[in-house]
Amino acid sequence: MPTVTLIEAVTMAMDHEMSVDEDVVVLGEDVGRNGGVFRATDGLQEKHGEDRVIDTPLAEAMIAGLSVGMAAQGMKPIAELQFMGFMFPAFNQIVTGAARLRNRTRGRLSVPLVVRMPYGGGIHAPEHHSESTEALFAHIPGLKVVTPSSPARAYGLLLAAIRDPDPVIFLEPKRIYRMVKQEIEDDGEAYPLETCFIDREGDDVTLVSWGATMHETLLAADELADEGISCEVIDIATIAPLDMPTIFDSVEKTGRVVIVQEAAKTGGVGSEIAAEISEHRLMSLIAPIGRVAGYDAIMPLAKMERHYMPQVVRITDEVKKVMDYS
């Protein structure tokens, strides 16, 4: 069983699916010869050929728009955008094209497309290379938005995304691309979408997060356990559509929630989760819902980014605040 990093698991999933389904193709800037700027497509062109691992001209809108046309013909493109900060030219095509085609044609045409993009801060990257704007996608009906927090989830969720008959935005937390390794069987087993993962069971407070900040959230849970606070930790994994029942069950048990996101606080996915809990489980709450988020500021450049991103101490502070209620 290979021991792989998160980014190697991404490669493994694409390689597996390209091997079993000839309709699956990879396209994007530098994905072929270069194997992707982060090496997510390393070796794929050598193995599957230039016709299936396609270096495109440099134009993000084109990559997305082209993929819509290919998908409408029954191909299953996996489009790579190099960084989430450069997705905005493609956003028009994702929103007006990919997300709507099934609905616009009453199911006659559909877009089985995956748009992969690395996102998030913490790697001291240049400007526009560190943002987390997942809420923009989560707001769009017709899209699914998925992010893994571990190598195993990267493999299983990406397989599910490729096999999904609708467009999936697959966000890769680049800060943890090579942080940990896991043993993964390359067996083609997909994980379910629209399903949260309970990473740790606990009784006092529910911590909800996704992507790279799952790392800090679990560290915070460790620290808090030492202080006698028992945290249940949930990785939502599928940002849209959200699996709220799993979160509700946990809230019924703990009565306290802290949501951790790297994205700016206002209008974030955490806001939606908090609103859902307020609407449907208010009476289960014994404390206000806490949110630890990126500040409502432009993502700072490298020197200051650590102050912007949720650190373990911010999470433990917030948990202690909600623990004051009983």
Binding site: A61, A64, L66, Q73, N92, R108
Partner: protein
């Protein structure tokens, strides 16, 4: 200094504005039955257009983008589409779509506010794209369809897309031509240069002498045709499609005509149009051009042309009847707004679907 690149843009015209043949006609145009058919199709287009306008004015249909004066562009282009080709139309593409096999009542349904109008039932057009409203986005979809055809080695198929001259100012237009050039895609793009992007005239869109030469910047064959001459349009698009089907790569064709109607029913061109220019354009319009030619040739009589008008009106009314019957007697259930979002509706959204259905039911039961 040496010249490292140079280019020319040719202009194709067979019938001049006096309906005189100025060039040897292509073979298909020697068949007067075929030309009469094209005339009838353009007449149907114009009749449908007037009827759509009146439906909108009566409050029986939504905003509608007219095609008056542009019938030769749509009919001429669309007549070149084969069973295996794919059309990726823009919002003024009604006539091209009808030529390929979209039913006119489907267009009325779409502009009347019913999504089923884009669920084309004719097997010939099941792979065609619905009308693209966001400007120039369709060019990339078309390039994507062409990419799929090429990747699968499907020679004998090609993609036709269309755009207004204003749309060529969008980056996505150029991005599509660029990739079509680099990958030698089976793609034909027709620019309907009707002189106006709502109120902005063509000369305010570009400093180029022609819109066609934008394709030369992408390294693809590009030419200009008289968009009031259906023979020229059909000849140029037909040859370009055949070239694309046989692996010869993409073509950009600028068809020059004049928008004789408002931009849409929500527009009032009298605020900006030049009445003299419009009057001049009426003298060049495509139906008169071909009709006079056929009459001069003795292929049809003026009386026959009048009979064609009656036939066109009857045919349009049949489509209007289907449209009314559908919206009045067979409306979409409200749950349909959820039924095609995904292959399977997410759990989280199911309650909203049930809510809208229940509210609709209560409202109707309550009278």
């Amino acid at each position: 200094m040496p010249t490292v690149a140079s280019f020319e843009v040719s202009y194709l015209q067979y019938l001049d504005e006096n309906s005189q043949a100025v060039n040897d006609l292509p073979d298909f145009a020697k068949d007067t039955n075929l030309l009469t058919g094209l005339y009838k199709d353009m007449l149907f287009a114009r009749t449908l257009d007037y009827r759509a306008m009146s439906l909108q004015r009566m409050g029986k249909m939504g905003t509608y983008p007219g095609t008056l004066g542009q019938e030769a562009v749509g009919v001429g282009s669309g007549s070149c589409l084969g069973d295996d080709d794919v059309l990726v139309p823009y919002y003024r593409g009604s006539n091209t779509m009808i030529q390929h096999g979209v039913k006119p009542h489907e267009l009325l349904l779409y502009w009347g506010g019913d999504e089923r109008g884009s669920d084309f039932k004719n097997p010939r057009v099941r792979q065609d794209f619905p009308i693209a409203v966001p400007i120039a986005t369709q060019c990339l979809h078309a390039a994507g369809v062409a990419t799929a055809m090429k990747a699968r080695g499907q020679t004998g198929r090609a993609v036709l897309t269309e755009i207004g001259e204003g749309g060529t100012s969008e980056g996505e237009f150029y991005e599509a031509l660029n990739v079509a050039g680099v990958w030698n895609l089976p793609l034909v793009c027709v620019i309907n240069n009707n002189q106006w992007a709502i109120s902005v005239p063509a000369e305010m869109q570009t400093a180029c002498e022609t819109f066609a030469q934008k394709g030369i910047a992408a390294g693809i064959e590009s030419l200009q045709v008289d968009g009031n001459d259906v023979i020229a349009v059909k000849d140029a698009v037909g040859r370009a499609m055949e070239k694309a089907r046989s692996g010869g790569g993409p073509t950009l064709i600028e068809a020059i005509c004049y928008r004789l109607c408002d931009h849409t029913t929500a527009d009032d061109a009298s605020r900006y149009d030049d009445p003299e220019a419009r009057e001049e354009a009426w003298a060049k319009e495509p139906l008169k051009r071909l009709g006079d030619y056929l009459v001069n040739l003795g292929a049809v009589t003026k009386k026959q042309l009048e009979e064609f008008e009656v036939e066109a009106k009857e045919a349009v009314e049949k489509e209007v009847e289907i449209y009314f019957d559908t919206i009045l007697n067979n409306p979409q259930p409200v749950g349909a707004m959820f039924d095609y979002l995904y292959a399977e509706l997410p759990e989280k959204t199911k309650a909203q679907r049930e809510e809208v259905i229940a509210r609709d039911l209560r409202a109707r039961e309550g009278g």
